[in-house]
């Protein structure tokens, strides 16, 4: 079973410590990653997905170290991600955006030169993902013309197209209406039922509490609490971090 | 001692590099545009300087006029072209800048402007003394180049540290949106920045014209390519970096030519250095990631 282990990871940006000795283990669950702005959540995602090398520590996936793996190689291992600031391929249609993910196994081989990407087979695979993410209605419009909520969903669809076992979602519910957020939560649960492990960064406490089985709280680069939602809700340190800032 | 002589020659060369690259760095610092058309500003500066000098016969007046003309041209380029491209993909202003450069260089070569030939700019030294010691000597022309450069750098330093425009520039270089949000008048700052940077390029054009006693339409090409090398070496957008990198490049060029001779012309060597720099130290000699 897919298992991610983050071991004593630290990350420095110049003099700023973005992550401090972070360790966690996950697999087969929906894990929430919460914390105030600047807590290091996205940095942790960037470290796991290979966009940033950790200053210290290491990340292991299924027992293998991800040290020196480049982001595109990590995707091939089965870890896909979305971005907090959405990065759809604006000029491409929604379908083609999903197809970019479907090509993941082909890109490194010479077949990439000789195979077309629009074939009944590839389109069927992409259409299934569009169906799953409820994007079929926008199949042929350019991604840049979608409203932000749909762009976020498209990013998830594109990540799914790489057939990941572990999905890293960076604030998927940001900017969504409560109705859209509920639909998103259902999608995430469905993916989890299909056997995918999921890590969600979330700002919206209520959303995270309702969705995740276990929650990790980061503050100033450190993990200050881990546990099921009910426990986190009553954790004094967490309340301090959150309430101390917002009120 | 030839080393000291070489060093003083290199310093003169470096002065012109500094003036040229300063404007490029200032533009890159705020707008993140590779202002390739800067070369044309430099040449126009030299050309106006030449006209003014033959007309008025006074070097200092000619220098002033050239700087003003170059500065105005810089502001016009900004207001007329780049201004409309600030939110477009970065290739848009880049290609426009290439277009401006090609257009001006070609236009300047036409007979009604400079024509395709070199013209003399016979300024003797504008009253500068000759410095001669046991180890090296500096001609009045070289003195002139050094003196004007130092003077202009002091003025730039004062403007950047002592005026609101300078503060605004620094803020804008750090974060354009943020600076706008805290009340910096971005348009004014950027326009001033273009004026100042272009005026410096104009001065560089005049000085090089005087020093080599020649002004011609394509005189800006090589210095501007070198200016790019310099701003890369200096770490894009850093003003002290420009000074260090200019001196370094001039010294290396001078010593290579003086001691080794060369297989390739020294300009090609400079470009090889550029490519290697970009590959191995993309943030400049002094810069950090």
């Amino acid at each position: 079973m897919n298992k991610l282990r983050v071991e004593r990871v630290s990350k420095m940006f110049g003099g700023l410590q973005a992550l401090k000795n972070v360790s966690l283990e996950t697999g087969g669950e929906i894990l929430g990653l919460i914390g105030p702005n600047g807590a290091g959540k996205t940095t942790l995602f960037n470290v796991i997905s290979g966009f940033l090398p950790p200053t210290e520590g290491a990340v292991y996936y299924n027992g293998h170290s991800l040290h020196r793996f480049r982001p595109h190689q990590i995707v091939r291992l089965g870890i896909a991600r979305t971005f907090q600031i959405v990065k759809p391929f604006g000029d491409l249609s929604v379908l083609d955006n999903v197809l970019t993910g479907c090509g993941m196994p082909v890109y490194p081989s010479w077949r990439a030169f000789f195979r077309r990407y629009h074939t009944p087979l590839t389109e069927k695979a992409a259409d299934e993902i569009l169906e799953l993410t409820d994007l079929s209605a926008w199949r042929d419009v350019p991604a840049s013309s979608l409203p932000i909520g749909l762009q976020r969903r498209l990013e998830i669809a594109r990540a799914l197209a790489t057939r990941p076992d572990l999905l890293l979602l960076d604030e998927p519910a940001a900017g969504l209406t409560s109705h859209e957020a509920e639909a998103l939560a259902q999608l995430v649960r469905r993916l989890h039922q299909q056997g995918k492990s999921i890590i969600v960064i979330e700002h919206n406490m209520a959303f995270a509490m309702g969705l995740c089985e276990r929650i990790v709280v980061l503050a100033q680069g450190e993990i200050i609490a881990v546990g099921p939602p009910e426990e986190i809700q009553n954790n004094e340190q967490v309340i301090n971090v959150y309430l101390g800032r917002s009120k | 001692m030839p080393i000291l002589q070489n060093l003083s020659n290199a310093l003169v060369l470096a002065s012109t590099y500094i003036l040229m690259a300063m404007g490029l760095t200032m533009v890159y610092g705020v707008l993140k545009i590779l202002h390739i058309a800067h070369a044309a500003v430099y040449t126009v500066g030299a050309f106006v300087g030449l006209l003014a000098y033959t007309w008025l016969g006074n070097f200092w007046l000619a220098l002033l006029l050239a700087m003003v003309a170059a500065g105005v041209m810089g502001v016009l380029i900004y207001r007329g072209v780049y201004f409309y491209m600030l939110d477009k993909p970065r290739t848009v202003p880049l290609i426009a800048s290439i277009g401006l450069f090609v257009m001006f260089t070609d236009l300047l070569q036409k007979d009604f402007l400079m024509g395709p030939y070199q013209r003399a700019l016979p300024v003797a030294g504008a009253g500068m003394p000759r410095l001669r010691t046991e180890w090296f000597s500096i001609t009045p022309k070289q003195m002139l180049v050094l003196a004007v450069t130092v003077m202009l750098l002091v003025i730039v330093y004062l403007i950047l540290t002592r005026t609101r425009i300078g503060l605004g520039w620094k803020a804008a270089a750090m974060d354009r949106e943020m600076a706008g949000a805290v009340g910096v008048n971005l348009n004014r700052v950027v326009a001033m920045n273009f004026f100042l940077g272009s005026a410096l390029a104009g001065a560089a054009g005049v000085l090089v014209g005087v020093y080599n006693n020649s002004v011609f339409a394509t005189m800006g090409d090589l210095p501007s390519y070198k200016a790019f090398i310099i701003i890369v070496l200096g770490g894009m957008g850093s003003l002290p970096g420009v000074i260090v990198a200019s001196i370094l490049l001039a010294v290396v060029e001078n010593f290579l030519v003086a001691s080794v001779g060369y297989v390739l012309p020294r300009d090609a060597v400079a470009f090889l250095v550029l490519i290697l720099m970009l590959m191995f130290r993309p943030h400049g000699l002094l810069g950090q990631e």
Partner: protein, 305 residues
């Protein structure tokens, strides 16, 4: 067709292939290059050296030009792995200067005097200097280059090029190695330009370093930007107009680079997608003209959904 028009048509064909080949690098993969003339030159010199110094026939020269230039493109594309955007433009500019300097200062390549007396191609005992056969040869190559461009745009490689042009981070997130595909783009683009160089060398019969300088790179870039970057039609139209106009109109010849430059600026100000690029004014109207009946039905369907 007069001999003069014939040679204009040959030149236009050669520059169409140059524009199409740069389009793969700049239009598809998004890597702006100011050094394409260097690849054109490497192809021309490879052919010239093989023909003049080693007496090889055209077929060998041509294939070698494509191969050598493709390899050179792969190697000279290496800076693109470390360097992005503006910096890459500087690097490609530098590559152009260095390559021309090598042609100029290395005696093997004939120095500033270039290499002369390159024989015309010979097939089955007949030489092809100028005339209709050479024209067909060149435009045959245009068709080949167009087909390659078209085919790439349909394959996974083409899709991967799109992703690295649009966003390298997102490309990595779908498993595209931007390093690998940039090198592919440089290699393919250079190889195709190398073929153009070979055709040029054997047509003119001589090569000089000054043909392949930096401003020629700008001219080629102007062609694709003017026509419409990234499309299959834009570079062709751009190259035909910008290459033929100076040959046919005296005024344009005199002010060639003034016009190229002004065109680049004006296009960037008003039509950054090019004359007939996707979404440009002209192309919108042209397509509307031909698709009017279909277009009037479509909005209703969308409303119905």
């Amino acid at each position: 067709m007069s001999g003069y028009l014939m040679s204009v048509a040959v030149f236009v064909g050669i520059w169409v292939t140059l524009a199409l080949s740069l389009n793969i690098l700049t239009g598809y993969a998004g890597q702006v290059s100011l050094g394409h003339a260097a690849f054109f030159g490497i192809g021309a010199y490879t052919s010239a050296v093989l023909a003049v110094r080693y007496g090889q026939p055209f077929g060998v020269d041509f294939l070698a030009a494509i191969l050598v230039t493709g390899l050179a493109g792969t190697v000279l594309g290496l800076p693109s792995l470390r360097v992005r955007h503006d910096f890459l433009v500087l690097a490609t500019m530098g590559v152009n200067f260095v390559v021309v300097a090598v042609f100029k200062y290395v005696d093997f390549f004939g120095g500033a005097m270039g290499l002369v007396n390159i024989p015309a191609p010979e097939f089955f005992g007949t030489t092809f200097r100028g005339g209709v056969p050479y024209l067909l040869l060149v435009w045959g190559y245009v068709v080949v280059v167009w087909l390659v461009s078209w085919y790439i745009s349909k394959t996974w490689v083409g899709l991967a090029f799109h992703t690295i042009r649009l966003d390298e981070d997102a490309a990595a997130a779908v498993g595209v190695s931007s390093a690998r595909f940039k090198i592919y783009a440089f290699g393919i683009s250079a190889a195709l330009a190398g073929g153009a160089g070979s055709l040029y060398a054997h047509f003119i019969g001589s090569v000089f370093p000054d043909t392949f300088v930096f401003v020629e790179s700008i001219a080629i870039l102007s062609m694709i930007v003017f026509g419409g970057v990234g499309t299959l039609r834009g570079p062709i139209i751009g190259a035909i107009i910008l290459k033929a106009a100076p040959e046919l109109l005296r005024f344009v010849q005199d002010y060639r680079f003034t016009i190229y430059g002004a065109l680049l600026v004006l296009m960037m100000l008003f039509q950054p997608m090019g004359l007939i690029g996707e979404g440009s004014w002209l192309w919108r109207n042209l397509t509307a003209l031909f698709r009017r009946p279909a277009a009037s039905q479509q909005p209703q369907q969308e409303v119905a959904q």
